[in-house]
Amino acid sequence: MIRPILHRVAQALLVALMVGVLTFALMRSLPGDMAWRVAAGRYGYDITDAAVMEQVRQSLALDQPAALALLSWFGDLLRLDLGVSLISELPVVDEIAHQLGASVTLALTALLLSVLLGPPLGVLAGLRPGGGLDRALFALSITLRALPQFVIGLLLIYGLAIVFGLLPASGHGEAGHVVLPALTLAIGLAAVSCRVARDATVAVTTSGYYRFGETKGLRPLDNFLRHGLRNIAVPIVTYLGVQLVYLIEGVVVVETLFAWPGIGHALVHAILARDVPMIQGTALVMGLMFVLLNAGVDVMCGALDPRRRTS
């Protein structure tokens, strides 16, 4: 159990490294006065004061070689000193604290919905490969996978919110508001996870041990519960780790589409405004959220698959 934890800690450090290097490059590519605002904002100084400017200059090591400046940039990053937003002039940490809740709600709701939609249908299809449900689900899955998330979102808005007026298309605060964006993400996730579940089901039900369960004399339901379910669940949960990439990317797009006040939305806005501290903060937190969710998948895999615990 030590190795996977170390692996995720290393991944978290890599996320910080990548975000740090890229945002540092971003800051250096900005016109001079923008860089001053970044620096000054972090220290809360009034940049009209020449003496203070000199102080900032020295403390930020902006006139020093890039390598040293990068080091001090990382120092701030690792202390989670993320600075102040250039737009709102509020500390980045405070802004993100507000947005994080909204994004986590969205991501977890989407994940839950996708798990309720995809795997059960996939298992049913896999129990009768080549049957009607299997073929219908295959066609549906390949069509849905050809739809980018924003297209799924547009179609849902058009269908559910505009034509039928069932759900609010955008907004935040009420329970109903989370349904459309979460469903958008969940449909994309389920389109893939139902195929994974279907293939896993076929592999398990044609395996030597499933056959042995039958010839041992177990009733079909007993055999499915005792030897099918767990073995089917392992690849599905493992694949969930791969799908997290899609989830995090989807959060960026879907939050923008539905004007959902989360981190993805904030990241896009920050990029448009070239608000470097906010870009750094939001990208870092999204990256860490990715690592954390992956760690959650690790834990679930460990709980499901005893082989992971013994090896």
Partner: protein, 262 residues
């Protein structure tokens, strides 16, 4: 060497049709996809403009063709770049093993630490409106997939008696690549390449959709959607066009990749 299934042929046919559309339209219908004409705004399809016009009176037919050229161009370039690098390094890692393998896997793991779109977004933020961050970002994301798949296959092939036999029989590394590795890697490369192209098309469209990708007035599918979205009621057929084209592009590429999950 690679036998295509019926679904894959359907994908190839659909992709060829889209490419024909993208390259053929400017030959048949001369004009500038960025020229505005406010008196011709939001004309329905079938009139003087075959596919209608957008809110700025620009010809949708020309814009769609240009947007498909852009998407396919980026996809082709990034996939080819990522493919050559990814396959070469994957075979190198799988066949050599040892520290070469560990070093290359370390690089791949580093890139995988961050979800791909975040990486692309950060690169795009450094040079907004330019093309190179798009190429670089998408290629960086894509080569890892080539690398991982190729490496896994190469590891298996390198350990096979057939490769050991080939070495004992006096064949060199190039022969082994051509006769032992490539025949097994080719279908993998095709699948990863088609999925990678689909990823590239979707990433570029997603960036356009959130307004940080290719800058207007260059026609880009995601951006066209976001521009046309407010007119869903007045001109649904115009809004449907870029959506349909993205879907057909991704569908064609997914079909070529095959019906498998990954």
């Amino acid at each position: 060497m690679i036998r295509l299934s019926r679904g894959q042929w359907a994908g190839v046919a659909l992709l060829l049709l889209l490419a024909l559309f993208a390259l053929g339209v400017p030959q048949v219908v001369p004009g500038d996809p960025t020229r505005q004409s406010l008196s011709n705004a939001l004309l329905p399809p079938g009139g003087p403009f075959l596919f209608g016009t957008d809110p700025f009176g620009r010809d949708m037919l020309l814009r769609l063709a240009a947007a498909v050229r852009l998407s396919l161009g980026i996809a082709l370039l990034t996939t080819a770049l990522a493919g050559v690098i990814g396959v070469a390094l994957g075979v190198l890692a799988g066949a050599c093993g040892g520290w070469v393998d560990r070093a290359l896997c370390g690089v791949a793991d580093t890139l995988l630490a961050l979800p791909g779109l975040l990486l692309v977004l950060l690169l795009v933020a450094i040079a907004p409106g330019r093309f190179w961050p798009l190429y670089l970002g998408v290629s960086l994301v894509l080569w890892v997939e080539y690398f991982r798949m190729t490496r896994a296959a190469a590891l298996r092939i390198a350990a096979s008696p057939a490769v050991e036999a080939s070495r004992l029989l006096g064949f060199g590394p190039f022969y082994r690549f051509r006769r032992h590795y490539w025949p097994e890697l080719a279908p993998i490369t095709l699948t990863v390449g088609a999925f990678g192209s689909a990823t590239s098309v979707m990433s570029v469209a997603a960036l356009g959709f959130v307004n940080v990708g290719v800058r207007p007035p260059t026609p880009e599918l995601g951006q066209m959607m976001i521009e046309l979205m407010p007119y869903y009621n007045e001109a649904p057929l115009i809004l449907a066009q870029p959506i349909l084209v993205v879907v057909l592009l991704v569908l064609a590429l997914n079909l070529i990749a095959g019906g498998k999950t990954q």
